[in-house]
Amino acid sequence: MKKNITINLCGRLFQIDEDAYELLQQYIESLRSYFGRQEGGDEIADDIEARIAELFYELKANGTEAITIEHVKDIITRIGKPEEMAGVSDETGNDSQKTSGHRYDSFRDAAEGVMNNVRARTAGKRLYRNPNDKMLAGVMSGFAAYTNTDPTWWRLGIVLLVLCYGVGILAYIVLAIVLPVAKTPEEQLQMQGKKVTPQALADAVIDEKQPVRQNRGCLGSVLAVIASLFAALFVGIAAIFGFAMLVCLFLVVVSVIIIFTVPGSSHLNMPFDLGYLHLSEMISVQPWVVIVFIAALMLVFLIPLYAVAHMLLSKAGKIQPMGIVQRIFWIVFWVVALGSMVPSLVWIQQNKTMVERVETR
């Protein structure tokens, strides 16, 4: 589901998705800033805007209700980036400059490259997981983008860390949960430490269409095999863990039902023997504590079960993976459940002697 806006382009109304609108706006801005420098630049941009309106109109006539980001991307590739459509006169001017100052240009290019490299290593970058070049969750590739280095070394490093009593596995899982994925073109630019300008955005969007190179070399393919083994192992462990949670939850529910329906059931002969807590007697003394205890105990098992099920389903591509807010919410919720389960259990343990005494008397 996407938010939809109506825009007025050259006196015609169009329904357009919000993300598509943003991309279109960036594209038109980049055109305006590019052509603004030359004579009649505004007119050129206006004409191109009219052309976009015409292409939108065609889409509408062909039964497209709302313009999506894909439509806008197609139109951008069709009309071209500003520097691709540079005027003929510009070209000849550049050529003569190039022949006269060739040595100087190549020196300047090299210097610019070095400067960009330095800037990219230090300036306003953000650490993301890199979705374009990933083996598991793209954590190491994100580190590589952050430091502007080859991801292979990072991957080798984490494999070595895994050999240190599996520290690497834990570190990787924590990072994979904590770090967000660089989804939007803006975030991908920030990941690489490039400036977020309309021009850079338009470039990033168009480059997205081109496939990512997959040749990783010999060491890279060994790492890829290790990574896929870990991925399989991780899914297997998660599935077993989820199943264990399901069994625990089932046992808790069964024992709670037995405790409250069968009178005097203090020993259930079950792995989850809640009978010794005398819950059915305690509920008449302190109902809230018992209710909180039972609810929290169920949640302690239910939340990981839900999380694992969600993860497996999203891995299979059935549903969208959780967003960062959702993840944090469930982690906090689980901690709260655990935090209310433990004290209530301790309280019941301490006070059950009260009802036991009543029983023996």
Binding site: R12, E43, I48, Y57, E58, R78, M85
Partner: protein, 116 residues
């Protein structure tokens, strides 16, 4: 220098002449011109045409008129101005010369050179 680059340089040089030729007999709007240039594989990205049209107009070679359209926004119909027609004649002459030269260069054989 690769062949694609050389080809695209050639096409770029021709583009202006081609646009003027297309407008010689009837006024057209940008999309018409784009379509015909694309059919002739003279255009890679559509956007190339717009700076060119504006430049030709600012140089006084083209004039335009707005026309309402039933399919989409109003259109700018471009036509040659009297100066544009003169300019085109000049280009025609240059083209004939150029194509003669090229044809001549292509038919040159070693024998012909020896004869000179």
């Amino acid at each position: 220098m690769n062949i694609e680059n050389a080809k695209s340089q050639m096409r770029k040089g021709m583009l202006e002449y081609c646009v003027l030729l297309l407008l010689k007999h009837r006024p057209s709007y940008a999309t018409d011109i784009i379509q015909q240039l694309k059919d002739a594989e003279l255009l890679v990205v559509e956007g190339t045409l717009y700076p060119l049209l504006t430049r030709l107009k600012n140089d006084g070679l083209l004039v335009y008129q707005w026309q309402e359209s039933t399919q989409g926004p109003p259109r700018k119909y471009y036509a040659l101005s009297p100066e544009g027609e003169q300019f085109l004649e000049g280009l025609d002459g240059a083209w004939t010369e150029l194509s003669n030269t090229i044809n001549y260069l292509k038919t040159i054989t070693p024998k012909l050179l020896e004869a000179k």
